[in-house]
């Protein structure tokens, strides 16, 4: 209830922020323009439209998660609104969780709007298929994880550094499979172990990326979607736990 109050307020704050609309307009323009781009290719029209559509939802979702996410907690401290908030009978964990849920709510609306537009484009051409829904669902799970990472960094760092860290994590998260390849190529046992441990520690965001498969009509089994979701949500919970831990003993100067 109290967490929800903070979440609702965070949502209200974000939707009164112009930057969100800017991102959304860009995304819709991008999805709309995929039709034009697809004209440049022969025979692969459907793939191009789906590819650009999914990539736009993912990219603009991540942009929202990072650029709104890193400012959320920082702004509360910088503008000292946190003073009156934390002196009410709510715990700091509830505060962090509320902030997080508020942004997830924003992302849900954001993704829903982009998806509706995307589906409109697909339906008009008769290219609609259910696998697209699975891909978007996993994009959303990934956004939940990226948001948690953004909140974790912003619980102890400035927005600029936090966005830098989060973007770095995002990129690493999509390339972490390279660590396994590296481990196979390495000679020493120690180096291999380091690579494997790092692979386990770092988020494997590619687990939630089925965009390529969907675009090329390769089936994405429900079991894979479930496994990826469980992985993404567990990782999110751990990151949020860490954020709450960091935030618990922080001085608000």
């Amino acid at each position: 209830m109290k967490t929800l109050a903070i979440a609702t307020n965070t949502f209200r704050e974000a939707i009164r922020d112009r930057i969100l609309y800017l991102i959304l307009v860009f995304a819709i323009l991008m999805i709309g323009s995929s039709r034009i781009l697809s004209l440049l290719t022969v025979g692969a029209e459907e793939k191009i439209v789906k590819d650009i559509g999914l990539a736009s939802i993912s990219l603009f979702g991540v942009a929202t998660a990072i650029f709104v996410g890193v400012g959320l907690v920082f702004k509360e401290i910088e503008k000292r609104t946190v003073y009156t908030l934390v002196s009410k009978p709510i715990s700091r964990s509830q505060f962090i969780l509320g902030k997080y849920l508020g942004l997830v709510l924003v992302l849900a609306v954001n993704v829903a709007v982009m998806t509706a537009f995307f589906f409109g484009v697909l339906l008009a051409k008769g290219w609609m298929d259910l696998a697209i829904g699975r891909a978007i669902f996993l994009i959303f799970i990934e956004l939940m994880l990226v948001t948690a990472i953004a909140i974790l960094f912003s619980s102890f760092s400035t927005p600029i550094l936090s966005s830098l860290f989060t973007v770095t994590f995002y990129v690493i998260g999509h390339l972490s499979w390279g660590l396994l390849l590296l481990a196979d190529k390495l000679e020493g046992e120690f180096g291999r172990m380091v690579c494997r441990v790092l692979y386990r520690l770092l988020p494997n965001l590619d687990a939630m990326n089925v965009k390529g498969a969907v675009v090329h009509g390769i089936e994405v089994p429900l079991a894979q979607v479930c496994a990826a979701s469980v992985y993404g949500l567990s990782y999110t919970a751990i990151v949020l736990g860490l954020a709450a831990l960091v935030f618990r003993r922080r001085d608000f100067l």
């Binding site: 209830m1 000292r80 609104t81 002196s87 009978p89």
Partner: protein, 309 residues
């Protein structure tokens, strides 16, 4: 003896700079005790550590050493805060909310239902005189209005213990008067009020007890009636006629404060000197305009304490 509302013992806090290369000890072993139903004023210069102390009480920052107990319990307890109201210095709130939305949101943080929130919001808005401007967004509020809405959020839970950090700053004279009345009203309802200020006249008007914070400790604390001597400390005499310097006053202990036209304002510390001055003025053909007895004020006490090294 009733249980104190607030009890602080041996509180210490050091602020560390980047990488802990620099550090500054702000609070150096502070002890404080506030009894139920009293209005306590924490006084001190800017940077004396008033806000730091208040932030530690509210667990916004954490002490390096010492204990803080509120209503007999450790101050970190979350449920404890349902009985506390807090107005920070120069409060800043969510500017995209209207005053009423803001108060309803804060009501939610106490777990009140919708009807309860609305009733309480309307109630505190009326108390701080903001009912007519409740539906304006906070971004359009003046500093004084923000201070009032800040007071409203501090009172939304009808707290037993109200902590106010520089509550009078940013208020016009009428606003200050109203805030003073509000604090006295809280006291009349049995609430305990703890506030920090450097506006001494306000503190003198409403405090039961004051504490003077200096060098990270409470240098002096007590009832105003105990701290301030009721005896006359000096007299201020306004005379007119011959210039003060020309008067035949050998061995006189008073001093000239100001001259305006033919009038001189003179301060006299001893009663015997006062009599002599009056006699000399009369015999020199001058006129007595006024004599004002000055008693020790909080300002005198404060200046003495803070200036003392």
């Amino acid at each position: 003896m009733p249980e104190p509302v607030l009890e602080i013992q041996g509180l210490r806090k050091t602020y560390k700079g980047h990488l802990s290369l620099t550090s500054r000890e702000v609070i150096k072993g502070l002890d404080l005790r506030i009894e139920p139903g009293e209005v306590f004023g924490l006084l001190g210069q800017n940077g004396a550590g008033k806000t730091t102390t208040i932030k530690m009480i509210l667990a916004l920052i954490f002490p390096d050493a010492g204990t803080i107990r509120i209503f007999g319990a450790d101050h970190l307890g979350v449920t404890l805060r349902a009985r506390i109201g807090f107005l920070p210095e120069n409060p800043y709130f969510y500017e995209y909310l209207t005053g009423r939305e803001f108060l309803r949101f804060y009501g939610q943080l106490f777990g009140y239902g919708r009807a309860e929130r609305n009733r309480r919001a309307a109630d505190v808005l009326a108390r701080v005189g903001m009912s007519t401007r409740a539906d304006l967004p906070l971004r359009k509020y003046s500093k004084g209005m923000l201070q009032r809405i800040g007071m409203a959020q501090a009172l939304i839970n009808d707290p037993d213990f109200v902590i106010l950090d520089e509550p009078m700053s940013g208020l016009d004279p009428i606003g200050r008067r109203e805030f003073r009345d509000l604090i006295l009203d809280l006291k009349a309802h049995g609430k305990t009020v703890f506030f920090s200020s450097h506006i001494l006249s306000d503190a003198e008007a409403i405090c039961d007890r004051v504490g003077i914070l200096k060098d990270g400790r409470v240098a002096l604390a007590g009832r105003l009636s105990d701290l301030l001597s009721p005896a006359v400390a000096s007299w201020e005499v306004t005379i007119s006629g011959p210039a003060f310097a020309s008067l035949p006053l050998n061995g006189f202990s008073g001093s000239l404060i100001s001259v305006r036209g033919t009038e001189s304002l003179v301060r006299v510390d001893a009663e015997a000197d006062l009599q002599r001055l009056l006699d000399v003025v009369r015999s020199s053909g001058g006129r007595l305009i006024s004599v004002t007895a000055r008693r020790d004020t909080l300002e005198d006490l404060y200046v003495r304490e803070v200036a003392a090294r």
